[in-house]
Structure formats: structure tokens, C-alpha cells
């Protein structure tokens, strides 16, 4: 008999961008003033009305689902699909705009490792503060204190400020506190993506133990499909704030991998409508991944070529192009240039090949720069293509985030020394 422990009904969350951020006192006062004097038919008022829908973001759109007691639900979705917002609502950090969530029992959430940790405080002090914030009771902490310390393996440094801890020690201690939470519903957001392999195994073990032996209900968000298929009894796929699939993890993961928007890989413009200026007019940019049969997403093994076509308005020009690859955090990973060649007025095509086994998993974007005489920029087409690289691992017991921006498959051997 189904026995839901959590019922989410018609939950939506809308962010109003124009209301956000600091320094809006003047705008708010102006708005209030305009409202007060009943000035509505002005240009200003209409403009605001027109912008209203554009400035609203529907992070969650009428989400409805139930979670049964003892279920381990994995939540999948691309960046910006609403996963984090959903978890934040369930953890009571933020409220839904509409809709209602009902539940039974105690709910704890781990949206970050080391919540409430303070660098200046000792490990001991931090166990208490973080534990209390996560909802542990005084007697719980006293009872489990030794276990927590043992699990973290930082006994000798317990009375030292955590700012002197190595990052590994810090993470272990922080997770140890969380591992001894005993809520009825546990919410976890990618916190496994830290620590070394040994520690990860311990964490996964702890989660498995919580769900199988203690019958705890777990909601788990991860980009890591192996972790989801190993741990979860059910999975749910979110896309643009909507649930588009629920079911067995394997099925949902499959759907997730197929949901990558291939149209993002290409942009095309009609003559005269493309971005550009008096020197350059874009016609198309696209990413062409070299996908094996049956695969529709780019993973770390996939090679891809970047192709673009543009119109050059200047005759006899020494022209070169540069391709810049950025992470979503705007860090430039590479900047490659084509040789500078004399060009006539007309259409020009470019292609750059990025090999497989080069980029690490993550979200990236390309920008293209057009340069005259190797030094004078003519046009910089920023963020023209964005794409995601998915993780791929074989025979690995480790589920953490692989470090670094690149993940080359260099030859790397160990052999017995002579």
C-alpha cells in the first residue's frame, strides 16, 4: 500500500529579476510614487508592463509528485532545470510562489558540506554548531560525538581551529557531522562530489546503510549517473522547471542523456540578420560532435568540430580568427588562432577541431574573435555556442567530481623500478 511521506502539489517558484539585488531602493520608491499619483498611461508604465513577463523566471512550474516512505529518489536535470530550487523549497530555505508541500517526520538537508562551519573555531566547537544547525539535538551529539570524530579521522586536531585543517580533513569532519543525522527524510545536493576515493566509499556506504537498513527516505540530486543508478530506487527528470519523466533510474537516465538539446549546437542567420558590424557579418556557427551510433550527447570522449561561416565586407584584408573556450564561470581554457591570410570580400568558412579525451565534464561556451593584421580586433562574437560535456567512467568505484578543466588521456604507466 502506498504510504507517501512527502507530497508535493502544484509547486511553482517564480523569480522576479527586476526585484532582485541591492540598490533598488530608488526604483522601488519611484514605482511607489508613480503608483501613488496614479500615473499609468505613460510610456514608462507601458514599458514596465511589457518587460514584466521577460523578467520573470519560472524556476519551477506546477511540480507535483509523491515520495513513498523508504524510497531513494534521484533527481536529474540540466543546469537551471530547477533541481536546486526544488531542494531549497523542500528544505524550507525558500518558499514556493504557489502550491503546497506536505510531509511527515523530521526532514534534514545537506545542500552544502560544512554548513555553519566557522574557520576560526575548533573542530570540536564546529561539530556542535553545525550539528545543531542541521537539526541534531544536544543529547544526540553527545551520544554520537565519538563516532563522528572517529568517522572523520581528525582526533588529534579536534581542538585546533579548522582553518589549519587540510581541505580533506575539513570535508571529512563536515561530512561526519552530517552522516550522523537521523532524519526521516534526508535531502542531499551533490555533496558527494568532494573528498578522496576512500572517503567517498565511506559516504556512499553510509547512504546505502541509511536507506536499506534504516529505511530512511532520501532525495538525492546529482550529475553523476552512476551514483544515481547505484543508490536510487526511483529517479525523476526535471527540465525547465517541469517534471518530464519519473521511473526506474536506468530509464530516466537514458531519457536524460537523450534530452540534450542538439539545436543549441547550431545557430544560423538569414543574410543581413546575423550579428556583426561593418567588417564582419555572421551567417552560422555550429558544433558538430563526432558521436558514435546511438549516442546523442557529448561526453568526455567525444571529439567535436566548431564550424562557422561569415561574410567579410573588406577587400584585401589580412584576416585571422581566434576561438576562445570558456567555462561557465568565465574562465578561459584555451585561445587558438587561425593563421593570418589575405582574403577578398566574400563568404569565409572556418573550422576548428577539438579532440576527444580532452575536456573534463562540465558546461562550456565558445566565443569567436575576428582579427585584422594579427593585432586589430574587428568583431568579438561572445558566447556564440554553449554545450555540456557529460562524464564517462568505466570500472570506477569513485563518483566524485573529477578535478581540472581538462581531462586528457595521457599515457601513464607504473612499473617496477629496476
Amino acid at each position: 500500500m502506498p504510504n507517501p511521506i512527502l507530497e508535493v502539489s502544484n509547486v511553482s517558484k517564480i523569480f522576479r529579476l527586476n526585484r532582485q539585488g541591492a540598490g533598488s531602493l530608488r526604483q522601488d520608491l519611484k514605482r511607489a510614487w508613480l503608483r501613488a499619483i496614479g500615473k499609468k498611461s505613460t510610456f514608462f508604465g507601458e514599458e514596465e508592463k511589457a518587460n514584466k513577463s521577460a523578467k520573470e523566471i519560472r524556476a519551477l512550474d506546477e511540480i507535483t509528485f509523491n515520495v513513498e516512505e523508504g524510497e531513494v529518489l534521484g533527481i536529474l536535470g540540466h543546469n537551471g532545470a530547477g533541481k536546486s530550487t526544488l531542494l531549497k523549497i523542500l528544505s524550507r530555505i525558500t518558499r514556493p510562489t504557489t502550491g503546497i508541500v506536505k510531509g511527515r517526520g523530521k526532514i534534514s538537508s545537506l545542500l552544502e558540506i560544512g554548513t555553519g562551519f566557522h574557520y576560526e573555531l575548533s573542530g570540536r566547537e564546529n561539530i556542535f554548531i553545525s550539528g545543531y544547525m542541521l537539526g541534531l539535538k544536544k543529547q544526540d551529539i553527545h551520544k554520537k560525538f565519538n563516532d563522528i570524530v572517529e568517522f572523520s579521522g581528525v582526533e588529534q586536531f579536534l581542538d585546533m581551529p579548522v582553518k589549519y585543517y587540510s581541505s580533506g580533513m575539513y570535508v571529512r569532519l563536515a561530512f561526519a557531522v552530517a552522516a550522523y543525522l537521523e532524519p526521516d527524510i534526508l535531502i542531499i545536493d551533490e555533496v558527494l562530489a568532494v573528498g578522496d576515493a576512500e572517503f567517498q566509499r565511506k559516504c556512499m556506504g553510509k547512504m546505502k546503510e541509511a536507506s536499506t537498513q534504516k529505511g530512511r527516505t532520501i532525495l538525492f540530486v546529482s550529475h553523476n549517473m552512476q551514483a544515481i543508478s547505484n543508490l536510487c530506487s526511483k529517479a525523476m527528470l526535471l527540465q525547465r522547471g517541469k517534471i518530464i519523466a519519473t521511473g526506474l533510474p536506468a530509464q530516466v537516465i537514458n531519457q536524460y542523456l537523450h534530452s540534450f538539446k542538439t539545436q543549441d549546437w547550431k545557430q544560423e542567420w538569414r543574410q543581413g540578420e546575423g550579428p556583426g558590424n561593418s567588417f564582419i557579418s555572421m551567417q552560422s556557427v555550429e558544433i558538430v560532435p563526432q558521436l558514435p551510433d546511438g549516442q546523442s550527447h557529448i561526453d568526455i570522449r567525444t571529439g567535436l568540430s566548431v564550424r562557422f561561416r561569415f561574410y567579410n565586407h573588406t577587400d584585401n584584408i589580412m584576416l585571422s580568427t581566434g576561438l576562445h573556450l570558456f567555462t561557465m564561470a568565465d574562465e578561459c581554457i584555451f585561445d587558438v588562432c587561425s593563421p593570418s591570410v589575405l582574403h577578398k570580400k566574400g563568404f569565409i568558412e572556418g573550422e576548428c577541431l577539438v579532440p576527444g579525451n580532452f575536456l573534463n565534464d562540465g558546461s562550456y561556451y565558445f566565443s569567436i574573435i575576428f582579427v585584422k593584421d594579427t593585432s586589430q580586433p574587428l568583431f568579438y562574437f561572445e558566447q556564440c555556442l554553449r554545450f555540456d560535456v557529460e562524464d564517462y567512467r568505466e570500472n570506477m568505484a569513485w563518483y566524485g567530481k573529477w578535478r581540472g578543466y581538462v581531462r586528457p588521456a595521457f599515457t601513464f604507466n607504473l612499473r617496477a623500478a629496476q
Binding site: 532582485q20 523542500l90 514556493p96 508541500v101 576560526e120 566547537e125
Partner: protein, 276 residues
């Protein structure tokens, strides 16, 4: 189902039982803030009494020696120390609370606990500091008593509890209200220091109300802190001008501000996370 998460909090919905269940966190936070306040300072907690002492010396230099504001027969050192002790309680709580959201957004956006815990911890922290400062004050009073410069009436000392509590309430109430507005409009952070400084000039901290000309006294009396500060000084050193209606006015202001602050903070706490 045992609990619900709904779009908003109602205006008068304060879950006291839940708040109480987080009392251990509250006490830990007070302890943490106390430790943090003097972490990596040379003199550590000595600052709790050193800070008012240094302020007193500045006041003696400026208001007593240079400007020459009379202190109604009370030794200037003692006069300023009483004023500063209770003024600091107000100013520290008020400015401490103003940054509640701005400074704790990292925690607020990652874990849920009743947000009221943070301002309560700040308030308790400053009350614990003032207990130490009161010991200093009593020490100074006794010093002047034994050196024959002061007549004391220990039976009125207990009255000092009233202004201390009410001042704390006013500071907590104003701080909560300000915390909500600062979360939305950072600009107000700049206004905060100015406001506190202006308030100092209309509070009887370095002057006595009896020195203010009759026709201007209403400005001072409009400030609900004034009767409290005068009562505090009267209770401890026997000098002060206050009336029962004045004290009642302050009490009403304290209750209105405190309740208003709690209701506003409680109503807005869960939506402000999206704004900060």
C-alpha cells in the same frame, strides 16, 4: 501529514515551540560570537571593559575639560560611564542586528532553522557583555562612595533592571526592522551609522536632561530612550529627570517596536533569502 510548506508566512504566525527546540543552537551561537569577538586580539575579553573606559576618557576630554558640560554634582567619570554603558547596549544590539541577513546569507541559503535564532543570539551576546560592564560600573560607584564623593542608595539599584530590559527591547525591535529593510535595500547600511550617531545626540548620554532648555526638551523626550537612560542613571547614582508618563511612553514604544519587529522579521524572513 504532520507539516506543510506553504507560499508565505502569515503575519501573526510565530512557532515558539520550534524556536525553543533550537535553544542549544542559540546558546552555542552566543558562545561562538563571544569567542569570535576577541579572537586574535591582543587583550581579548579585556576589551569589554576597556572599550567603555576609553570612550569615557574621550568624553571627559571633550565634554568636561574642553566644552565644560556640567554633570550635576556627579563625578564626570561616573556620569559618562553610566551613560555609555546603557547607550552601548542599545547601539551594539541595534547595529549588530542590522546585518542579520546580509552577513548570514551563506548559512540562510543552505540550511533551515528559525531565522530569529541569529538576532536573539546577538542580543544575548550583548546582554552578557553588559553584565560584565555593570560590574565595572558598580566597582566605580563603590570607589566614589568610599572616597566620599558620592552618596549611594543601594535600594534603588534594582530599578536599573527596567531601563536595561526596555532598552534591550527597543534595540531588538529596531534592529529586526532594520535587518529586514537592509536585506532589501543595502543603501540603508550607510544610513545606519549616521542614524546611530544622530540618536546619540538626542539621548542623555553625555548630558543630563535637566540641562536641556525647557523649550527644546520635547526633542529629547520624543526619543523613547531618554527617560530610560535618565532612570538608569537615577537608579544607580541618584541623578536623573524623568516622569512616570515618560517611562510609560518608553515602555509602550518598547513593546510596539519589539512586537512590530518580531512580526515583520518573522513574516519576511523566508522570502528575503531570494532577495539578498
Amino acid at each position: 501529514m504532520e507539516w506543510e510548506i506553504k507560499p508565505g508566512t502569515r503575519w501573526f504566525e510565530l512557532n515558539l515551540r520550534e524556536l525553543f527546540s533550537y535553544k542549544d543552537l542559540l546558546l552555542r551561537l552566543v558562545r561562538r560570537d563571544f569567542l569570535m569577538l576577541y579572537q586574535q586580539t591582543l587583550l581579548g575579553p579585556v576589551w569589554i571593559i576597556l572599550q567603555p573606559l576609553l570612550t569615557v576618557f574621550t568624553y571627559i576630554l571633550i565634554f568636561d575639560l574642553i566644552i565644560g558640560i556640567p554633570t550635576n554634582g556627579i563625578p564626570p567619570f561616573l556620569f559618562y560611564l553610566t551613560g555609555i554603558t546603557i547607550w552601548n547596549l542599545f547601539a551594539d544590539i541595534f547595529t549588530g542586528l542590522a546585518g542579520t541577513f546580509v552577513n548570514n546569507i551563506n548559512i540562510f541559503s543552505k540550511v533551515y532553522f528559525p531565522r530569529m535564532i541569529i538576532p536573539l543570539a546577538t542580543t544575548l551576546l550583548h546582554f552578557s557583555r553588559i553584565l560584565i560592564q555593570l560590574l565595572l560600573l558598580i566597582g566605580v560607584i563603590l570607589f566614589y562612595y568610599f572616597s566620599g564623593k558620592l552618596v549611594i542608595k543601594p535600594e534603588t539599584w534594582i530599578l536599573a533592571v527596567i531601563p536595561l530590559l526596555l532598552t534591550g527591547f527597543i534595540a531588538l525591535g529596531c534592529g529586526l526592522i532594520f535587518a529586514v529593510f537592509i536585506a532589501k535595500y543595502r543603501d540603508l547600511m550607510n544610513l545606519l551609522q549616521l542614524l546611530v550617531r544622530l540618536l546619540l545626540f538626542v539621548s542623555p548620554v553625555f548630558f543630563a536632561v535637566s540641562l536641556v532648555p525647557e523649550r527644546l526638551r520635547w526633542i529629547i523626550n520624543l526619543n523613547p530612550l531618554s527617560p530610560l537612560f535618565e532612570l538608569f542613571r537615577y537608579a544607580l547614582v541618584g541623578e536623573g529627570t524623568f516622569s512616570i508618563p515618560g517611562i510609560l511612553y518608553s515602555s509602550c514604544a518598547a513593546i510596539v517596536l519589539l512586537l512590530g519587529g518580531i512580526v515583520l522579521f518573522n513574516k519576511k524572513a523566508d522570502t528575503l533569502v531570494d532577495v539578498v
